[in-house]
Point group: C2
Chain length 374, copies 2
Amino acid sequence: MRFKINKDKLLYHLLIAQKALSTKTPNPALQGIKIDVEADKLVMTTSNSDISIKVMLEDASLDVESTGSTLIPGKYFIEIIRKLDGQSVTFSQVEDNLLRIEADHSDITLNMLDLDDYPELQFKETDQSIKVNVRTLKTIIRQTAFATSSIENRPILTGVNFTIDGDRLSGVATDSYRLSQKEIPLEDSYEKMNVIIPGRSLEELMKILENNQSDVEVHFDQNRVLFKYENVLFHSRLLEGNYPETSKLIPAEFPVQITFNKEQLITAIERASLLSSRDGQNAIVKLNVRNDDVVEISSNSPEIGRVLEEVHPADEIQGSPIKIAFSSKYVLEALKVFNSSEVTVKFTGEIRPFIITGEYDDDMLQLILPVKTD
Amino acid sequence: MRFKINKDKLLYHLLIAQKALSTKTPNPALQGIKIDVEADKLVMTTSNSDISIKVMLEDASLDVESTGSTLIPGKYFIEIIRKLDGQSVTFSQVEDNLLRIEADHSDITLNMLDLDDYPELQFKETDQSIKVNVRTLKTIIRQTAFATSSIENRPILTGVNFTIDGDRLSGVATDSYRLSQKEIPLEDSYEKMNVIIPGRSLEELMKILENNQSDVEVHFDQNRVLFKYENVLFHSRLLEGNYPETSKLIPAEFPVQITFNKEQLITAIERASLLSSRDGQNAIVKLNVRNDDVVEISSNSPEIGRVLEEVHPADEIQGSPIKIAFSSKYVLEALKVFNSSEVTVKFTGEIRPFIITGEYDDDMLQLILPVKTD
């Protein structure tokens, strides 16, 4: 095996593969990047317990003298490539288990891992797949995945529930204190589908997807999902089990509705969170509609002090005055995924979940459970 | 007490005072910022076990309605000021122990700390002082303080030893594995002086000193030092004891001398450090002068691999070939404080300390102890 390639091109693709590189793993082979050197391309493969990535690198700078396969310690390999001087790097296998890396005035030899220990990975397409624009896919992930649970005691809630009904793709996430839901139209109609993708897999996928016009092919079967995006195959396991029926959690009537400038509401809640003795964003903040239609956002920590913010709604308040308390973290995280500059908060009652919607955020809904106070 | 001031001006000065704010302290009063509101200025004071800071804030935006003093929980106060909207903030004392902060639509009340618990702090000038340009002071600190010991078992080595002899100010730091020494000329002559300033105090001082043309007055006595810089008084305790006599550690003859392009040497050593199983920079790196006058920088970690870098000296090598091994961390940290783009490494022998100097770094010397290898 011997080939030459442009250093920056190689590094760019290695950093994609790195997203699935295991750092702590009982199987040392998974700390490696598998590189298959073919006549006209490099194929790089990485895997951890949740996701596997395969990156194809075809480039004019690639000059393959002889093909072959190798398994290289990922962390060291990436650090070396990052630090090399010069544009072109030459790789060759020497002896039985050494990879030689030559660039400029550097001559580096890296012990290879045993390729026989590397697991068989599945990147096969399935019978059921959809096509979705990459920006649309990024939107639905960004607006739902943050609301998944990070606690493992109900594993199913650590994932986002995606369903397809005709030409509608819907994503729902909840940690049982808040819920996030987004629906997008697809260009074609598809068979019904219902899967739960781990939130962490989606976070890694987000780092790879760029803001361009590409389409992503998404392949599903019983227990896995495969994203085909440009020269990358991204595979994730699915979470098994039945996702809770969330639609019945969402109130149908909202007698009180207040429209806010989003940034004003965010900064008011952020300031009200400052004096919490609980850590930062987890502060309990109260919202109180006064008779003069000014909204008070406040918090009170007897040991530290109190904050009172006056926010003037962007529009006339609908309904009667209301008092409600909530965890600032949940409301802030929800507000921050809106694209609209104005958001409407809709209340059913003081101890009922409230929802947030935005004029320019079609078919997106953020729901938050209030907190009981005295 | 009641006053109004521009928010950004206040924040800027608070962030200076913050450098001496205690976060963990058995004395809760030291978590506070003391603010004395005088007719024409605010005086802000903070202190921890090593340093105390007093900042005077005079500004056209300051409008004092009534004077007074207060002790405010520092962390919360700074976070509030940072997050406020609007330009102008009004502060007033309400009831006995509350500070009210009004800005734009925010109305915040902060419990004050008990001013009676705040210690008496010394910011008095002493009989002995020198004057030094702020850029010169920053240079001598930057080029020495990094070499202090971070281990407390010989407390004296956690400080930088400053001495004055006539119109020469010298700074020396060593952790017993490397030594850094810089001497600067002063504009005037002074009495002899010999003090040890804690490295950590100097690091905090560095964050306050800007790159301008100001002079800094430095006042000393037996156990403390006071820096007067613009509107800031910066006080530090001194370390007590006798600093070791370091001049005898420095070899007098250097039969082998090699001049390098500094950046080339740094990147070669950085790459050679990459494959160390010890953590990062602590790698053992070897330097070997070949007969063809190329310098090899190399490392070898049997489990991971090996690196061989060829560096072409910037000038003819003086002396005979030499082999030496060193800790990459020490050499890299030393190289990075040089202003010169070429540095000369001077060797006495394979197990003797070697030094580094630079053409444009007058009176600066970095010394490093080699490591024995087989």
